[in-house]
């Protein structure tokens, strides 16, 4: 080392210069709960049980999503549609109980891919909120089924091209 390097001082002053420049730089921090950053059109967030165009629940309680789920977070109880309930459920069989354990869920999206009826989706615009109590963990139909005044439409032109992710506009017979 040269004498200047052994004196440490020039290097220390250089380092102090670098850090003080960063002191006055603009901070890239996003103030999270108040300001949220757009996470992209293919983000997998809060689950939603879709309704079709007439507002009927699409889920037919086939159980494929529960089979596909690697974390075994999904459980459901099937029931048969009664007369007069045609406006509520699209198929003759529906899920009377549909529960997702959010502590187990790893948000992999395999349920979304497994669903033959395009009924379960992971929203790209909303996350599962933080929970502090154990009884807040299991999400039932009251929190999963799409609200009629808050329909979920994914604006995802790229995703349309991929065969694994059917679009919402595609009608299923």
């Amino acid at each position: 080392m040269t004498l200047a390097e052994r004196m440490y001082l020039p290097a220390i002053l250089g380092g102090l210069g670098i850090t003080i420049r960063h002191f006055f730089m603009k901070k890239p921090t996003i103030q999270y709960p108040e300001v949220k950053r757009y996470l992209g059109p293919i983000f997998r967030g809060h689950h939603v049980l879709k309704r079709d165009e007439q507002g009927r629940e699409r889920c037919t309680a086939c159980g494929l999503c529960a089979v596909a789920c690697p974390a075994e977070a999904i459980s459901m109880v099937a029931a048969e549609r009664k007369k007069g309930e045609e406006a509520l459920y699209r198929e003759e069989k529906y899920a009377a109980v549909y529960e997702i354990n959010m502590l187990r869920c790893i948000f992999c999206g395999l349920c979304e891919e497994a669903c033959p009826k395009q009924a379960v989706y992971l929203r790209h615009d909303r996350m599962v909120p933080v929970f502090t109590e154990r009884d807040q963990v299991i999400y039932g139909k009251d929190r999963l089924v799409e609200k009629l005044d808050d329909r979920y439409i994914r604006n995802n032109p790229d995703a349309q091209a991929t065969p694994t992710e059917p679009t919402l506009s595609r009608s299923v017979g």
Binding site: T2, I12, L16, I20, F23, K27
Partner: protein, 386 residues
Amino acid sequence: MELTVLVIKSLVILAVFGITLLIATYSTYAERKVAAFLQDRIGPNRAGPFGLLQPIADAGKMFFKEDFIPAQANKWLFILGPCLAMLTALMSSAVIPFGDSIRYGSFEVPVQGIDVNVGVLYVFGVVSLGVYGVMIGGWASNNKFSLLGAIRAASQNISYEVALGLSIIAILMMTGSLSLRHIVNEQNGFFQWNVFTQPLGFVIFLTCAFAECNRTPFDLPECETELVGGYHTEYSSMKLGFYLFAEYINMFTSSAIISTLYFGGFQYPFMHQVHDALVDSLGSTVGHNIATGIGTAVLFGKIFFFIFFFMWVRWTIPRFRFDQLMNLGWKTLIPLSILNVVLTGAGLLFDKFKYATWLIVIVMIIMAATNAIKAPRRKPVTVPQL
């Protein structure tokens, strides 16, 4: 008459005590904010506006944690350790002159805890006691890492105290007094500040102050990678809080002492003109007191700058290795400070010339520059092609 002086004096002492604690509290907040800003983050901003209530939240958390004493520890010494650390940290701000004086009726009370004529030595005495808190705590924990941290702290503090003391002797020679108030009063006029008359002494003193406060780059006693937590490995709750708090109080005190010894204390350029103008316009009591207030504010500005500097350095420079620390202390700083003393003495004997130590600085810069020019250029590192 006695009573009024006593009341004002005790008010001054209480104010110094309270301000020390307040500044130490908010230093923890400032440390986190400065660290964040130097690392392109924002830092604590949730508790209160701009996170200003964060220190209070931290203190509350500290108080409610479990106060744990290890089974094999020496109980009384374990408790004594943090108490001593806190006590010695708080004692040293007693002799710092925070301002000129307060006039009240016919009395004139200096803004200073006690004005002893051995002020500098008092600070040294208290600083040299500071290591006991660390040593006793580290030994009483009955933990090898704690003991090693304590031993490191002791050896580091003893080593750097020598250079610290020697670097001040030059100032004492120029002032001819050990009283901090004399040293401040001697520095009237901007270029009379000791940082201009003693540039080398200032650098040595600053380095030693970092080492004495156990701050990065010399925070080896609590080096996490080698010693878990150093001397406070076994401590929890407010006992740990006392150790950490004592560090911030030490930082405040050493900033105040650096400002007092080298940056003119409560002096600022054109102080006498401002003082005379205030006395002329507001009367000799009110005007004088306002001038004292301005001086105190200026001193606190300097102190805050140095606290910031402590943090700035902490988040810039990595930690020294222990042999590097000892080499720097014994083989570089002590010889340099002795040279500083000798040259200052020569300059003072020869026509009271105060700026003699610039000679060392100039010679060192020239040597470094020629050495850097002569040194063989390093080849840029080339990655061998696979």
